[in-house]
């Protein structure tokens, strides 16, 4: 690039004055207007399909709104109903439960994988690709495979449990078992991705720190705890917040896991229905758009609260 551009730039100055002047008027306009021209597609499309829907969700949530249209302003009634709605709180508990089950082991495991990858390794690219493989699969496909793996009668997990003398578990039947099955899918998909993020952070830690620690006689494990973990704190905060946001929106995995026509309720007793699923059920299956919109705002509120808590806790505990 550089070698191509420089000679031409050097030739330019002795150009005749007339065309330059005409050009400068045009180019002044070009300089002024083009930045706005270049960012306007984003803002136009975003205004119509991003910002407007966001604000309109708040407006709809204050109405008794069904598929037929606006049934009148009802103020905060939808929110009041929501606060007393046991199905909603059940969905919140399920979502938080699966969030913890999916995030904690995932990030701990990712840290271990990253520490292993952060050594002098042969076939580095191949190993990293192997670790990342699960993320390039179709989510719905993952749901189908894991549904089968956790099947009560024909599933592989129950088959293995049988070998060690444990009687088959109906994974879909209870809260704890369905949460574990669904969290496993999430862990499987995202552990590798997070480990690459940790790995990148680990590689920017200065080697001298470890050398000094080795001289002082600190063990590998001690070094990991006292150097690696504090040094990659920004990456940890990042992954915790991203996993929380993703976890609060969990939808595809439990929906496919549910199978059958009423999958959207997350099992016969709503044992694994998430808040996203509940919003979908209310808005699109029961056609109660107003109530669904109120749920959407509650999800947003919960995400914000959790993100702030996460941020504060991660910051403090790392100090």
């Amino acid at each position: 690039m550089v070698t191509q551009q420089r000679p031409r730039a050097a030739v330019k100055p002795p150009a005749p004055p007339r065309p330059r002047e005409r050009g400068s008027l045009l180019s002044r306009w070009d300089l002024k207007a083009s930045p706005y021209l270049y960012i306007s597609p984003f803002f136009l499309l975003f205004a119509v399909f991003g910002l407007f829907p966001l604000l309109y969700t708040a407006w709809v949530s204050l109405h008794n709104w069904d598929l037929g249209g606006d049934g009148g302003f009802i103020g905060l009634d939808n929110y009041a109903t929501l606060f007393g709605d046991p199905d909603f709180w059940n969905a919140v508990v399920n979502t938080l439960g699966m969030l913890v089950l999916a995030t904690v082991p995932q990030l701990l495991l990712a840290m271990v994988v990253a520490a292993l990858l952060n050594q002098q390794l042969r076939a580095r690219l191949l190993l990293r690709m192997g670790v990342l493989l699960p993320i390039v699969t179709s989510v719905a496909a993952v749901g189908i495979v894991f549904s089968q793996i956790f099947d009560r009668d024909a599933g592989m997990v129950n088959g293995l449990l049988h070998l060690v003398g444990v009687s088959p578990i109906d994974w879909r039947a209870d809260k704890w078992s369905s949460w574990i099955a669904i969290s496993t899918m999430v862990d499987w998909r995202w552990t590798g991705y997070n480990s690459l993020i940790y790995l990148a952070a680990m590689q920017s830690i200065p080697r001298e720190l470890y050398e000094a620690a080795t001289v002082d006689g600190a063990s590998k494990i001690r070094q990991f705890r006292s150097i690696t973990v504090p040094m990659i704190r920004p990456a940890i905060v990042f992954t915790v917040i991203m996993s929380t946001i993703a976890g609060m929106q969990l939808f595809t995995e439990p929906l496919i896991f549910g199978q059958g026509t009423y999958a959207i309720s997350g099992g016969s007793l709503r044992q694994f229905q998430t808040v996203s699923m509940y919003m979908f059920e209310k808005a699109f299956r029961d056609a109660d758009l107003g109530y669904g919109s109120a749920i959407a705002w509650m999800i947003f509120l919960l995400i914000t609260i959790l993100a702030v808590i996460n941020f504060l806790v991660t910051r403090r505990s790392a100090k």
Partner: protein
């Protein structure tokens, strides 16, 4: 540097084998017939029925699997091209051009990255009803033609990888701003833009919540078809698995072709984060 212990390799390879196993098993079941269901031990070697299952898959009633694949391919390509074009263009403007309100507008874009998709889905659905786009492919394309994440990512990339001198030189040379974008900026942004392209392609291909809200059985995307298979055909395991396998193929091909750039992109983005 001390030599890495073989134990590290063994542990890593075991982990990778474990994480590849569900995919391998997906392939095995997709090549079998339904009589293996419930067999213990489960079959661990592929059978000879892959093409038979794929044939049944594409002719399965109400799943419209072929149309789902075609729809998803069109949507993913169009969205990817558009996101990359508008993100590089806007990223260039934010990184390298001076204009009033630049910082404020950038903060707006950053803020929008925090908003979950679900938030706007209900009004988005109402807009689609107004436009008459329910069950039409443009409903899953048009709202996603721009991406806040993409603009932000390309801005970061342009800051680092496009030298100001190069832009100055091109300007003295009489290049219009758009010409500079095409001849100077775009080539410099190519590595970052290809990572953005791959992520956009993957996320559009994987989009699920919005298609099942706005589309219907007769005009699905591939994830929609898969869900259709798993609700209507859930006793026909090999058919479902064949569908799941076929739905993964484009993503796996992209990954094999561009794996190096994807990994580079994740690692580079992470250091900056």
């Amino acid at each position: 540097m001390r030599k890495t212990s073989p134990l590290v390799y063994v542990t890593l390879l075991a982990g990778i084998a474990l994480s590849a196993f569900p995919l391998y098993w997906l392939f095995v079941v997709a090549t079998r017939t339904n009589d293996i269901v419930g067999d213990w031990p489960p079959p661990l070697l592929p059978g000879g029925n892959l093409f038979g299952n794929i044939g049944r898959l594409f002719s399965a009633e109400d799943a419209n699997f072929l149309l789902g694949m075609v729809n998803s391919a069109i949507a993913s390509v169009v969205v990817t091209v558009s996101v990359v074009f508008f993100s590089t263009l806007a990223g260039f403007a934010f990184a390298k051009l001076r204009f009033r309100g630049r910082n404020g507008l950038l903060v707006v874009i950053l803020g929008t990255m925090m908003i979950p998709v679900q938030m706007g889905i209900i009004p988005l659905y109402m807009i689609m009803v107004q436009l008459g786009w329910q069950n039409r492919l443009q409903a899953v394309i048009v709202p996603f033609l721009v991406s806040a994440f993409g603009v932000f990512m390309m801005r970061q990339y342009a800051e680092r990888s496009v030298p100001d001198e190069l832009i100055e030189a091109a300007r003295i040379d009489g290049c219009s701003t758009f010409r500079i974008y095409l001849t100077v900026v775009l080539p410099a942004l190519r590595p970052g833009a290809s990572v953005l392209a791959l992520f956009t392609f993957m996320s559009t291909w994987n989009e699920f919540l919005w298609p099942i809200a706005v589309l219907e059985n007769d005009n699905p995307t591939v994830q929609f078809s898969l869900n259709q298979l798993s609700t209507s055909y859930y006793t026909d395991y090999t058919l479902m698995f064949a569908g799941a396998l076929v739905a993964c193929v484009p993503l796996l091909l992209v990954f094999l072709a561009f794996g190096k750039q994807i990994i580079g992109g994740i690692m580079e983005g992470a250091v900056k984060a």
